[in-house]
């Protein structure tokens, strides 16, 4: 078989890989998108689909903000079930009010629409919440999507004359000039990007990607009319500490309620019963009528996370013409379009619009 050559080979057709393929083909690159399974069946299938601004630092803010902007610029995504829900960051205790309000002011200063709701306003906005909560910061621009639907919408948009989709082949090794596949064949590509999520480190030894498991549960249809994504203020702390549970509730079309979130290190998809129980108890604590709602499914997903909590986006110096975009933890759906923009700009030597120094993977080699 004559070796086909591509301008760009993308390993991994998760949300990151698909967003990148869309941009790369848009820039005229002949692109190969390769996955060992049908597109979007890794972490991207397990995710909650919350598109949200997070601002633990300026870089996270920049990446999530660009992500949200680009998601909106994609326009009509029929299967994504887009919902402009906004997020309510809920203060359960008095001492959470101050930090949340400060966060709101900081976000407002950056031009991000948000608003403080006191306890009464919160109860009015979401009557199902437990009485006596202290208030909430509403971030208006956050949204909810169904990630598998969004992913297939984006994939459909990619012009097939520039994209080759190979979804039953595993890449086993990155060689100097080629990719070695599990059937022994090789692929030539000018540049290659590894967005293989959790498995990126298998292809790029030394890449600090760790598995952080999360549990999710979903109710039957017709249960509730929740309007916003409801997240307790303490959620952000669990995203950094590595383990624990926090209340994270999201309305799905048809009156389903999607329930998160738990975090623990580990790559077994098996349910941790104690943690699942804790997560549900936590959610019921915030939304009492949830207790009697029927749950139809509980599952786990693995968030590919980096050692320092920042995604790894950029050139991977140990190998020639090799790039990586992995380790997005619980934000990979939100930031996939931003990641694509940043990485493609670097690949083409163009300005990217945001400062990517913090995400430079070579920090792991220092």
């Amino acid at each position: 078989m004559a070796a086909t050559t591509y301008d760009l080979a993308i390993v991994g057709a998760g949300m990151v890989g698909v967003c990148l393929a869309l941009d790369a083909t848009g820039a005229g690159l002949r692109t190969l998108l390769i996955d060992r399974q049908p597109p979007g069946q890794g972490a991207s299938a397990a995710a909650m689909g919350h598109l949200l601004i997070l601002d633990s630092d300026a870089d996270e803010l920049a990446l999530t903000r660009l992500g949200l902007r680009r998601w909106r610029e994609y326009g009509e995504l029929p299967a994504a079930q887009w919902n402009d829900a906004g997020t309510l960051w809920i203060a359960a205790a008095e001492n959470e009010i101050g930090p949340l309000q400060a966060r709101g002011e900081a976000l407002a200063k950056q031009g991000i629409a948000c608003q403080w709701l006191d306890g009464a306003a919160l109860a009015e906005a979401e009557p199902g919440l437990r009485p006596g909560l202290c208030g909430a910061l509403r971030v208006d621009g956050d949204a909810l999507i169904y990630p598998p639907g969004a992913l297939s919408d984006l994939l459909r948009r990619i012009p097939r004359d520039r994209l080759t989709l190979m979804n039953d082949r595993s890449v086993v090794q990155l060689e100097e000039q080629t990719l070695l596949l599990d059937d022994g064949s090789r692929i030539h590509a000018g540049q290659r990007v590894v967005c293989a999520g959790l498995h990126s480190a298998a292809l790029l030894p030394g890449l600090p990607v760790l598995p952080r498991k999360g549990h999710l549960a979903i109710t039957n249809r017709g249960q509730v009319q929740v309007r916003h994504a409801l997240v307790e203020a303490g959620y952000v702390a669990t995203t950094h500490s590595g383990s624990g549970v926090a209340c994270n509730l999201q309305p799905r079309p048809g009156g389903q309620l999607l329930i998160g979130a738990s975090r623990e290190l580990g790559d077994s998809r098996q349910i941790n019963q104690r943690l699942l129980g804790q997560m549900l108890a936590r959610a019921i604590g915030f939304y009492p009528t949830l207790a009697q709602m029927p749950l139809i499914r509980c599952w786990t997903g693995i968030r590919p996370t980096s050692a320092d909590g920042h995604p790894l986006i950029g050139r991977w110096p140990p190998l020639p013409n090799t790039w990586v975009a992995a380790g997005h933890e619980g934000l990979g759906i939100t930031t996939a379009p931003a990641t694509a923009q940043l990485l493609l700009a670097q690949l083409l030597g163009r300005p990217s619009g945001i400062d990517g120094a913090r995400f430079d993977p070579s920090r792991a080699l220092a």
Binding site: P38, G40, Q41, A45, P148, S152, A217, T219, N220, R221, I259, I271, Q273, R274, L276, G277, Q278, L280, A281, A283, I284, L290, A291, Q292, M293, P294, L295, I296, R297, C298, W299
Partner: protein, 444 residues
């Protein structure tokens, strides 16, 4: 609020013929038994008791003392939420409370459910499973004077016709998909099983005036807002419209293997629908777990009863009784095989849905979205992709219903292993937090 806890030597899931006969043996040998069923009363599908049909005297005499036995705790109306371990399960009772049960030995005897494939009009009120309609009659729903059509394939149609006729319904006919030649061949072969033949004739006698037609096809159900007629094709392909207000459909039985989800048991793949693998003494592939009845492969009540008995005998070590039961079981198995062969349902016998026919009723997924190919050659062969793309199997039934249908049409649908086994309250699963903290301590 914490979970209610029960402990015993043997946990039996399912109080049908297999579960009840296992309990009978286990009690006789001094075991403490927990008997669990999601139905409000014991009996399962075959021996269902309800307002419309109390148990016959003989069965009452056999099992009433058993259900009242001090060493038996019968937990009716309890839904299995999930297996927490191979000897411990989380349930939810009829009041919605969490119940934790624990026993060193487990018998899975959760039976089978009927296969009702989609066809135009199948979501009309008045269309049900044939077994479901029988259950309604037994449960005391007044069907007197109602015009009933029974169709599909299998012995369940005859049993339903017998019950329904007895409750005063006007059964317009049994329309079996199998050919008359095949049914004649079966009748001949049944001469070798006089007792079974006699039972079949007894059923037939109870609905003697109901026509038993063979070689038909189900086309659709019609009606404005409610079922008014069934449209069928006779063996010559002629369309026949039969006015009715009840249509009972059944194309065979699907073992309830979902109730073993999480136990990692070996399956047997020699059947159209997955069933649990068991050895000659009804042992599953994990030690301490047994299975009996339809969950190990559909074979009818007599076989289920013997298998339940064998499982319990294996636990108490009673070799002589075991040998006798096994001999009887082998005879029942060969009869079950005969029935299975003659009622084997091929995709060609299944009805043809329209593209707009709802396939997955939980998520309202139409046939066209689920199976874009023809119904015997679906375009999408991978269940997970299909699920993520169409949301089929993502609703309340988690593929228990639509997955079995998909499999009947030749699609490799997977069985969900994700808890819960059936919808239960969030508060029930929230109990996992504390149940597991004390899991290592001995129970009361």
């Amino acid at each position: 609020m914490s979970a209610i806890r029960h402990q015993g030597d043997l946990l039996i899931l399912g109080a049908g013929p297999a579960g009840l006969s296992a309990a009978e043996v286990a009690l006789a040998f001094g075991m403490r038994v927990l008997l669990i069923d999601q139905q409000p009363a014991a009996g399962g599908q075959l021996w269902r008791q309800g307002a419309g049909s109390p148990w016959p005297r003989s069965r009452q005499q056999r099992f009433a003392p058993l259900l009242a036995h001090p060493n038996l705790r019968f937990l009716p109306g309890h839904q299995l939420a999930m297996w927490c371990d191979r000897d411990r399960a989380l349930l939810q009772n009829a009041q919605g409370e969490a119940v934790s049960v624990h026993a060193a030995q487990v018998l899975l005897a959760s039976g089978a459910r009927e296969l009702v494939p989609p066809f135009p009009g199948w979501t009309l009120p008045g269309v049900t499973g044939a077994g479901g309609l029988q259950a309604m009659a037994k449960g005391g729903v007044d069907l007197a004077g109602q015009s009933v059509v029974l169709t599909g394939s299998g012995p369940l149609l005859l049993a339903s016709a017998a019950t329904l006729s007895g409750s005063g319904a006007r059964v317009r006919g049994i329309f079996e998909m199998q050919s008359r030649r095949r049914m004649r061949a079966l009748a001949t072969r049944m001469l070798a099983y006089p007792r079974r033949l006699w039972e079949a004739l007894q059923l037939r006698r109870r609905c003697a005036r109901v026509p038993y037609e063979c070689g038909w096809r189900l086309l659709r159900a019609e009606g404005r807002g409610r079922l008014e007629a069934a449209l069928l094709a006779d063996p010559n392909g002629r369309e026949r419209r039969i006015a009715c207000n009840r249509l009972g459909v059944s194309f065979g039985l699907v073992p309830n293997v979902e109730s073993a989800a999480g136990l990692d048991l070996r399956m047997r793949s020699d059947r159209q629908f997955p069933a649990l693998w068991v050895d000659a003494e009804q042992r599953c592939s994990v030690s301490g777990i047994f299975a009996a009845g339809e969950i190990t492969g559909v074979g009818g009540g007599a076989l289920a009863e013997l298998e339940g008995r064998i499982a319990a005998l294996a636990m108490v070590d009673a070799p002589d009784q075991m040998r006798r039961a096994q001999r009887a079981r082998d005879a029942a198995l060969s009869f079950a095989k005969l029935i299975a062969e003659h009622f084997a349902c091929t995709p060609e016998m299944l009805p043809n849905p329209d593209p707009a026919t709802i396939f997955c009723r939980c998520e309202d997924v139409p046939w066209s979205a689920a199976l874009p190919g023809s119904h015997t050659d679906p375009a999408c062969k991978d269940w997970r992709s299909l699920k993520l793309a169409s949301r089929i199997g993502m609703g309340a039934c988690q593929g228990r219903i639509c997955g079995a249908i998909a499999r009947a049409y030749g699609l490799p649908a997977e069985i969900s292993s994700r808890p819960p086994v059936a919808p239960v309250a969030a508060a029930t699963l929230a109990q996992l937090e504390t149940l597991n903290e004390s899991a290592d301590q001995p129970l009361e």
